[in-house]
């Protein structure tokens, strides 16, 4: 999951949790606040009454009566003063029932004992519980609205900001990792960001890429130099041997030695050439801009190579039912690829063996070419390593120096072609070339 998705999910879920928590707790909370406020209100009322009594005397209320009671029209509040025995009722605030003019009502009730004119009095101030909770619902609603609005606002703000914050990471991934193709020839541009972590990441990637690029350039340079430095002495030796072989007075024995030297030198030359070729392919020093018909290409290869079939009288069957064009390729390299594979199929074949080259087009996805021989086969243990350089299986006596398949592998990689090998010892080998959709014209 992407970091942005994870963060978005987390933010949204955490806010949702807060909303749920609030919705559950809000009624309780508001009730509590309301009841606390009522108690406070009752105490304030009591203070006021006591102030008036101490200022104006108890008669201000009693007006000569024994006791006094008063309530508002809907009996939502009431107040009463009555003489009492000292400490008959303790001073409390509690919820209890009172009968007021025949109506039994639930009141939040404050009781207070006090002394006035040397008499004990009991003050009761009550407020119906119904009025206490009358604002709870609208309050809850308003609180919920405000809360949801706030949550929504912060949620949007959070999401926009995380998106903005993480954008450089996206650019880094896009410009440095996804869209970059080896060998990183173009100069990478640093991603603009004020987040130091991203700057660090970006700079590290740029440094790393520059290092790779440098190493790659060095190798390219080395290849060019090595090719020059190795080829020149080989060239001198070859020409010296050739000149000597042309000398009339050279005896037969020397002539034979010269030819052996020439042969060995030729072997050296081919090894160096092969290594340079692999290195040049791996360093992407070949252009890939041609469009090639595989049918024609294999036809050309066969024209070059078919005479080799004669020696072992090998039966060759070319059966390509599709004329597939490969784009973005290098014709010479593809030629070499098929040349090497078919050449191997001949070289490691048996007398009167056969070779079949056929294809399969999976329209819309990929294209396969099979090169099937009835040769000596490859032991299954050796299959994973046959593409390694200088790896010769048990076939050393058949000639070759173990670079042919390495070249094939390099060329295939270079063209995004994958190779599968199936083989059975003494039965034969099948090389399957898989051309992906994107290289098919």
């Amino acid at each position: 999951m992407k970091l942005l998705t994870k963060l978005t999910l987390f933010i949204t879920l955490s806010k949702l949790a807060i909303v749920v928590l609030f919705v559950f707790l809000l009624p309780n909370l508001i009730e509590r606040i309301a009841s606390q406020y009522t108690d406070f209100y009752l105490k304030e009322q009591q203070k006021k009454v006591m102030q008036i009594i101490s200022k104006n005397g108890i008669d201000y209320y009693l007006q000569g009566e024994e006791s006094m009671g008063s309530y508002t029209m809907l009996k939502e509040e009431y107040i009463s003063l009555s003489p009492t025995e000292p400490r008959l009722y303790p001073d409390t605030i509690e919820t209890s029932e009172r009968i007021v003019e025949g109506d039994t009502l639930n009141y939040r009730l404050l009781t207070h004992n006090f002394l006035a004119d040397k008499k004990h009095y009991l003050l009761e101030i009550g407020k119906t519980t119904a009025t206490i909770s009358q604002y709870n619902r609208p309050l809850q609603r308003v609180a919920s609205y405000v809360l949801i609005a706030l949550i929504l606002f912060t949620l949007i703000a959070d999401l926009i900001y995380t998106r903005f914050l993480l954008a450089p990471l996206g650019w880094i991934i896009k410009s440095k990792l996804v869209n970059r193709r080896f060998p990183f020839n173009d100069n990478p541009h640093p991603v603009k960001t004020s987040t130091s972590d991203f700057q660090y990441l970006d700079n590290s990637l740029i440094t790393l890429m520059n290092q790779i690029h440098e190493a790659f350039e060095k190798e390219r340079e080395f290849t060019a130099n090595a090719s020059h430095e190795l080829m020149t002495p080989i060239s001198i030796l070859q020409n010296k041997i050739e000149n000597l072989m042309g000398e009339a007075e050279v005896g037969e024995m020397v002539q034979r030695k010269l030819i052996e030297m020439h042969r060995t030198l030729n072997r050296l030359k081919k090894i160096v050439n092969s290594l340079l070729l692999i290195s040049r392919i791996d360093n992407e020093q070949f252009s890939r801009s041609e469009v090639v018909s595989l049918k024609e290409l294999i036809g050309d290869v066969m024209e070059d190579i078919s005479h080799r079939l004669e020696e072992k009288e090998i039966d060759f069957k070319l059966n390509l039912s599709n004329d597939v064009q490969i784009k973005n390729c290098n014709r010479d390299l593809l030629y070499q690829l098929f040349y090497n594979l078919i050449n191997n199929a001949i070289k490691y074949n048996k007398e009167n063996g056969s070779i079949k080259v056929y294809d399969a087009l999976h329209s819309g996805s990929f294209y396969q070419i099979f090169i099937e021989d009835t040769g000596i086969g490859i032991p299954s243990d050796d299959i994973p390593t046959i593409f390694n350089r200088f790896k010769k299986s048990n076939l050393a006596e058949a000639g070759g120096y173990g670079l042919g398949l390495s070249i094939v592998k390099s060329i295939a990689n270079y063209h995004k072609i994958s190779i599968d090998v199936t083989s059975a010892v003494n039965k034969g080998t099948t090389f399957t070339l898989v051309f992906p959709k994107e290289v098919i014209q």
């Binding site: 020149t232 070729l277 070059d304 005479h307 042919g404």
Partner: protein, 226 residues
Amino acid sequence: MKVLIVEDEKTLAYEVEAFLKKAFYIVDLAHNARKGLELIEVNQYDFVLLDLGLPDKDGLVVLEHAKKHNSEAAFIILTARGNIEDRIKGLDLGADDYLPKPFSLLELQSRMQAISRRKFGVKNQALQLGEFEIDLQKRIVAHNSNEVEITRKEFDLLSYMLLHKNRVLTRIQLSEHIWGSFVDDDYDSNYIDVHIKNIRKKLGAYGPVDWLETVRGVGYKVKKQE
């Protein structure tokens, strides 16, 4: 024919010189670009063999200059750099051929002959080989004016041996001529034998081919009495 070899690797230059002198060319040597250009400015050459990796100047620069002074000459680039861009650049600048090092001297001579025919219109009249007539221009082998049908590769092989007549050519030299420096996994191919066999079979149907000799364990030779 007059040849200038511009090559900083002296040993190599001497070998090429010795070989060409034996083939009756007149040869001058230059071991750097400056000397090479000096010689080109005062002499008329038929061939300039030019190494690209010269110590003082890039061979391609020399080629550009030399073309102005000696536009008649045929330029053959000899290089160990072997990258394709160099080859294209060289041919774009007007080089007539390109031979990657290491090259065979026999191959060099064969290329020079081909250029002579193409560029200087040197007409070697049809050559006689036993009862056969070989026309290098038209690439035809005929027996009593009956054309003998042979493949392109077989003709290449035959004309190469004819060019180097009375000289033993090894299988390697012959395959190199036909398949170039193509990277082949075989260092000791005998595939050339099949071609020789075919030549003998096809020509043998018309007349004796005893001039095409097998030299045991070595290769082949075209023997020709002048």
